[in-house]
Amino acid sequence: MAITSDVLVIGGGLSAVTAAVSAAREGADVRLVSHKASTLRQASGLIDALGYVPATEPAKPLRDGPPTAGRELDPDEWPDPEGPLADPFEGIDRLPESHPYRIVGSDALREGLALFDDLVGDAYRGSHTDRNALVPTFGGAVKPTARYPAAAEAGLASDHRPMLVVGFRSLTEYDARAFAGRLEAAGVPFDVAGAEVEFAEAFRADAKITRLAKALDHDEEIDGVPAREALAKAVAPHLHDAVDADGGVERVERVGFPAFLGDDRGGEVRDELADRLGADVFEIPMGPPSLPGLRLEDRLFDALDAEGVRFETGNPVVGVESASDGRVEAVAVDRKGRTAPYGADAFVLATGGLVGKGLDSDREGVREPVFDLHVDQPDDRYEWFVDDAFGDQPYARFGVRPDERCRPTDADGAVQYENVFAAGGVVGGADAAREKSASGVSLATGLAAGRQAATEANQ
């Protein structure tokens, strides 16, 4: 077996990168293997830690008897979650004991965020405080988040300056006027207007955001006018669209765009637009495809390279190749039909949850496909969910159950493999969507699992 390392990290997202770097910084020789291009490109680029503490008890006792499967027979009800939290660390004690934050501790979150700050440098903001920032996202919601891209800085909802939000007819997933309306309805402390402008129409109706970003990066000419100038000209007539509390016209001091303001030269694009508009310019994080996610991916993989981590993308880890005495010796990597063994002293499983395909499911059950680790779940499929879509859905917390060293345990709580550690979405116990905790869980467990794996390998 020729392909070996001290630590092998399986996965390509935030938790995998965090685990790889933290293991490397403990002196381990680290290799990272991920099946597909990093899922970071589908992420908003916001780094949340804990925005809400959702209720784990229903508003009224759950009825007895078989589940109704949505037949509206006495449906259950759940209270609204507590939040948005001003301070994510302050809410950790109120999470269930099986929550990853309770297992690895709030220090792991703090150190994970510090590691992240170190890796991304000045591309991100928010490290000056423990407190959550409120960042408007493209649906017009405001998300409590611990770190945010520098490009989103001028858009914070806690800022009182009047705001213009710009949209384009061809970007159908996002409507600037609806966005402004929803922000206003949420009671933000500033005046906001939305405007749809003519710019993206110069491109084909379904031009990709990467196409728009590239045009702005290179300041390509559009009908004879450089792209950045053309965009500023399109926006300029709307700078007085905001209306103050007395019905008066107000000049906006900041302008928000969907997140396509350049890829490699985003700072330059924003600066030029700000200069031309006489207002700060910010990006509104979008759903996938997400340029902030792509930029984060670029930064983190550059960081992996700088830390000396070996990485490869394109082939999946499909199972355990060999194991003995409760330790995995090698995993099997499928290289287009033939598997090759990848040996290591310790392994970090960071393959994601149900969406990321780190967990596999069908009508019979939910499985972890690489190491076949135990995934705690009710036997009856009808108990995987509750009626209230925003209730405490059991499936949302599915995943492996780690011990205090991040090693997954079996149904009896015994460690399954001495040298296998888990991080990120594959770890159960968090309801990341309701808590707004996905990134923080990845950073905290990634940091802890990476360190533990390095310790294991060094022994």
Partner: protein, 516 residues
């Protein structure tokens, strides 16, 4: 046998002798696994009637069940009724009920519904597409793949012409978190477009056919390599080529080697190492044969250094440029020769090694996705890229360490080809040489070079191609090294074209650093 060109003649005799098939005797009996002239016109899913299995065919089969012709005929549906030479999983554990034979032509469409259903429209493929990033008219892989596949379920929908703008870089495959077979969908749609909708007398079709069949031109040119190298790059001729053929005059045609790899191989007397336990069959592809035989020579010397017996079976084009131009019939014809000869080598205990990452990609992924030929799954499973294989099976790092590195420091600007990326190989060169003394190698980033095989060789795509490549050129200029490095011949052309650098293949550096 007609399908072997003169260049392959020395190998053809061996093939016939070893297979002992009846394909050459002219008796007209269909002989599964041993294609004969005219088989191209036969149905692609070849199902022999019972009793037609020639007994002589059992000679090269280690599997005892093959001696029983009737037994083999029972499982005829997908593999021509013949057990695989090497026991590849799909062929030996075949469940005829569970297995749905796929082939593009003429057996109908591929069943790609499952792939289409797996798409949840996250659009990751679109953001990874280098063409969509520069071409306003290209709707991106999500449309070309799952959306177009759904649209054309109804007969009255033509394939959108924009499919011809897909460069087949296959980055969408790598980007898709849901494993939608995007490139397979594109290949199928492009093949159908070219077959059903493209004017066969158009300049574009003829030009694309010529580009796709590079091997044919290269084979001719290598008869008079010096003349050809001059004539192909002669100014007035290039002007005429652009005007008449749509081949951009900005590009320089690659030089043809005065001695092809196969000529060298023959002159040297073939393999210098014999080792029945460690055998590899080298798929050199067209470019290493006609244009850069030094890459092929490096492969041979490096593998012999590690004690491998190198075989060089007769072979044709891997099909990569043909897939990209929708010329699936051409690709299939070449695939038949390749699969036939490689299956035989696999039967002799060899794994298949390619030095071009597009060739290895084609044999591993596109072959089994697009063609239903006897043994094609075996070929896919036994194929590796040259450096990849050594990294899996040899202690390359230890060996490089022991060799002590280079005396004079050399710096390289390395570009990972898109097709290497999809095989998980994008970092292997940088990581292999990272700790070698005297070698400095920088990865110039993850952008596509922009040439994508034949894409950048089309006049109407030339500017887009250079725009895609701009980022790579920039990063190459920034890198310390003044020599470029990549596994892909056309990426190498683009790198050279954009920077003027000399470009090497990692195998050449491996040869130097190992002292092989």
């Amino acid at each position: 046998m007609t399908r072997h060109t003169d260049d392959d003649a020395e190998g053809a005799g061996r093939t016939n002798e070893a297979s002992g098939g009846c394909g050459d005797c002219g008796c007209g009996e269909p002989s599964p696994g041993v294609p004969e002239a005219g088989r191209d016109e036969q149905p692609s899913v070849f199902v022999p009637d019972e009793g037609e299995i020639p007994e002589t065919d059992a000679a090269d089969a280690p599997d005892p069940t093959r001696a029983d012709g009737a037994g083999a005929a029972d499982r005829a549906a997908t593999d021509g009724g013949v057990e695989s030479a090497s026991g590849g999983t799909d062929s030996t554990e075949l469940d005829p009920d569970a297995y749905d034979p796929v082939d593009v032509f003429p057996g109908g469409d591929l069943d790609l519904r499952e792939g289409a259903d797996s798409c949840y429209k996250c659009t990751s493929c679109d953001t990874s597409c280098p063409v969509a990033e520069v071409d306003d008219e290209f709707p991106g892989p999500k449309f070309q793949g799952p959306e177009q596949w759904r649209l054309k379920r109804k007969d009255d929908h033509d394939i959108d012409e924009s499919i011809t703008s897909c460069s087949n870089c296959m980055r969408c495959d790598d980007a898709c978190p849901s494993s939608v077979p995007l490139s397979q969908m594109h290949n199928e749609a492009r093949g159908q477009f070219v077959e059903r909708q493209m004017e066969k007398l158009s300049v574009e079709y003829v030009r694309n056919r010529i580009l796709a069949n590079y091997r044919t031109s290269a084979s001719l040119a290598s008869k008079f390599p010096r003349t050809a190298s001059f004539a192909m790059n002669f100014g007035p001729a290039r002007w005429a080529m652009e005007k008449v053929m749509g081949i951009p005059k900005e590009r320089d045609f690659p030089e043809f080697a005065t001695e092809t790899f196969r000529e060298w191989w023959k002159a040297r007397g073939g393999a210098q190492v014999e080792n029945p336990d460690k055998r590899v069959a080298y798929f050199h592809g067209c470019y290493s044969n006609y244009n850069t035989p030094e890459v092929g020579k490096a492969m041979v010397r490096v593998y012999e250094h590690f004690g491998y017996e190198v075989m060089v079976p007769p072979q044709k084009c891997s099909g990569t440029p043909m897939f990209a131009n929708g010329m699936l019939d051409d690709a299939r014809r070449h695939a038949e020769t390749n699969v036939e000869n490689l299956v035989e080598a696999i039967g002799d205990g060899a794994d298949v090694i390619a030095s071009c990452t597009s060739c290895s990609m084609s044999l591993r992924q596109e072959y089994p996705e697009l063609f239903d030929l006897h043994g094609i799954e075996d070929v896919a499973e036994h194929t590796f890229e040259a450096l990849e294989y050594l990294r899996i099976h040899e202690d390359l790092e230890g060996e490089l360490d022991a060799a002590g590195g280079l005396d004079d420091e050399r710096a390289f600007a390395y570009h990972a080809p898109c097709h290497a990326r999809n095989q998980g190989l994008s970092r292997q060169a940088v990581e292999t040489f990272r700790d070698v003394d005297g070698v400095k190698m920088e990865d110039v980033g993850d952008s596509c070079s922009g040439i994508s095989g034949t894409y950048g060789w089309k006049e109407e795509k030339y500017e887009k191609s250079m725009e895609i490549g701009a980022e790579m050129f920039e990063h190459m200029e920034d890198a310390e090294g003044e020599v470029g490095m990549t596994e892909c011949p056309t990426c190498a052309m683009q790198m050279e074209h954009g920077t003027g650098y000399e470009i090497e293949h990692p195998l050449q550096l491996l040869e130097d650093t190992l002292g092989a």
